[in-house]
Amino acid sequence: MALLEVECLRTHFRTPDGVNRAVDGVSFSVEAGETLAIVGESGCGKSVTANSILRLIPAKVGRSTGVVRFEGRNLLELSPRAMRQIRGNAIGMIFQEPMTSLNPVLTVGRQIGESLRLHQGLDRRRAEARAVEMLTLVGIPEPQRRVRAYPHQLSGGMRQRVMIAMALACNPKLLIADEPTTALDVTIQAQILDLTRDLKHRVGAAIILITHDLGVVAEVASRVIVMYAGRKIEEAPVAELFRRPRHPYTQGLLGAVPRLGSSLDGTRGRLAEIPGLVPSLTTRIAGCVFAGRCPRATDLCRAIAPAMAAKAPGHGAACHHAPAEAAAA
């Protein structure tokens, strides 16, 4: 049994402009210890997917349906109390903005220690001692002093290390990292990625890595899901996806990655662009969500939404026209 199984997850928001179908029928699973990447443009629903797993969408604005089975229990049906016992304990989460994701008026020691006190019943002193250990683990110099510091006294990279320490404090089985490096400088990005990989081996947690950076995906993930307009449109092992993307959107996305030397080469000087705009999620789309921008779209695409179908072993795509290897069927 997989550690996490997500079946037909849908999260919709009520907005003044209508119902926003931010995530609309996404299914995937995560095995213990594996690293799964979810990629897509901003607004494709990848962050909402992450937040929906931990039920962090406020009930006032949105609602999720489907199944999120973690260790055999459907998280969407747990009581609020049981859900709180999972958050920060069996599942840890890292957010995108280290600048705004730490509470400015509490010391970092207190913020790291908080989940230990909640889930492991440590007292204030032992929680702080453990927070110092965690700061050491994530490579923060002078942890004894830093544990009493406030977030504004730390640099962006240090704050993201604090975030990681917070998420890992209770040795979670699953770590959800929502764009953990997007807000950081390139050099810091690399350090944080190295740290994540290093800790993953030590702690043995499975990771869901949400990112729009395909370079990051290639470096750390073993399997990739591509999302577009609230749907999963392709899924494959990382090498397979880069070698042979099946969905026209993924092909466009990979074409849009700047390659070293491409600017020197006159003929391939420009990034491949996908023409058109992402469709509004507040209007219901008949047919394939990508049809409006797809070079290969036909009347069939505009009428009937394609289901996910196996195109090669372990490689699926939601496209009527994606070529399938005979072996897959």
């Binding site: 999972i86 920060g88 989460m93 509470n103 400015p104 008026v105 908080e114």
Partner: protein
């Protein structure tokens, strides 16, 4: 941190000076002849001349302002025209009831308003929220004397639970003192509660939408921890600021509340002084209240250092 405190303290000096200058210049700003107005309709020219001399209106503005400021710095607020007593003596007689009323109102109001605002923010859009916000609009709209009469009618005249009027000094016992202050405090506090509840709700809504609240929720923090540990501490600065600024409403309202509930405080002193056109008393009370108001808000500025670790400049 000391530099911040020092700068705040220094910044109040020009404000106090402007207050003093303004309160003093009122005599000169007012249209018509203030001496004639203070003397009343039946006054003889001699009366008017005497009052003009008492007020110093016959001498140059700057000379007079200099003398006046110098005496204020020495704690002399002038002499009442009607009673011929020093204004400071009159104020000393009347300060206890007013101070009691304000302190009790302040504590009760903050104690009620902050939880109401937090509840409204947490349950935004629900019945609880709408109820609190309706109460707040009513608190802003129903003037203090209307609430005073309403409360006195229901709880004192009809139900006879509490005294209709009067004041018992704190020296005669805590309970008799407090019993007399319950209705006036509720009446006086209604606008204040509305103001604080509204700013608490607005600030909490803003804070609850912040990323760090989601981070805390993702750690498994429950709603009580989210509200009172993570959110309220971040919302504290604007809330405390409004608590300080709102004291102006309490000061203005006290004048009315004391009249309705017949409390012998500074408000009564002011109203009596208005009826007798005893301007030095009014001037003294206005000056005293304004200085206290500036000092309270200075104190509040200084508490920012405790509330927000980022304030250290």
């Amino acid at each position: 941190m000391l530099a911040y405190a020092g700068r705040r303290v220094l910044a109040t000096i020009p404000v106090m000076a402007v207050v003093a200058l303004f309160v003093f210049s009122l005599l000169y700003i007012a249209p018509g002849d203030p001496a004639a107005i203070i003397a009343g309709d039946q006054a003889t020219p001699d009366d008017i001349a005497r009052i003009r001399a008492t007020l110093g209106l016959d001498r140059p503005f700057l000379v007079r302002f200099g003398e006046w400021s110098w005496r204020i710095l020495q704690g002399d607020l002038g002499t009442s025209i009607f009673t011929a007593l020093p204004v400071t003596a009159l104020i000393r007689q009347r300060i206890e009831p007013t101070l009691s009323l304000m302190v009790v109102t302040l504590i009760l109001s903050v104690g009620v308003a902050v939880p109401l605002g937090v509840a409204a923010a947490w349950k935004a859009g629900t019945l609880v929220d709408r109820l609190v916000m309706t109460l707040a609009v009513l608190g802003f709209s129903v003037p203090v004397f209307v609430i005073s009469y309403l409360l006195a009618y229901v709880f004192a005249l009809e139900l006879e639970w509490l005294p209709v009027q009067g004041y018992t000094p704190i020296a005669s016992g805590l309970w008799p003192w407090f019993r007399n202050l319950i209705l006036p405090s509720i009446a006086l506090g209604s606008v204040y509660v509305a103001l604080i509840a509204r700013i608490t709700r607005a600030t909490m809504l803003e804070v609850l939408a912040q990323d760090y609240i989601k981070t805390a929720a993702a750690k498994g923090v429950g709603s009580r921890g989210l509200l009172f540990v993570h959110a309220l501490k971040n919302a504290a600065v604007p809330i405390v600021t409004v608590i300080g600024l709102g004291i102006a409403l309490l000061i203005g309202g006290a004048v009315v509340t004391e009249s309705v509930f017949v409390i012998p405080g500074l408000g009564r002193l002011t109203v009596d002084a208005i009826l007798r056109r005893d301007y030095p008393v009014i001037q003294g009370v206005v000056l005293l209240f304004s200085f206290c108001y500036v000092l309270v808000n200075l104190g509040i500025d200084l508490t920012y250092m405790l509330l927000d670790p980022r304030i250290r400049y």
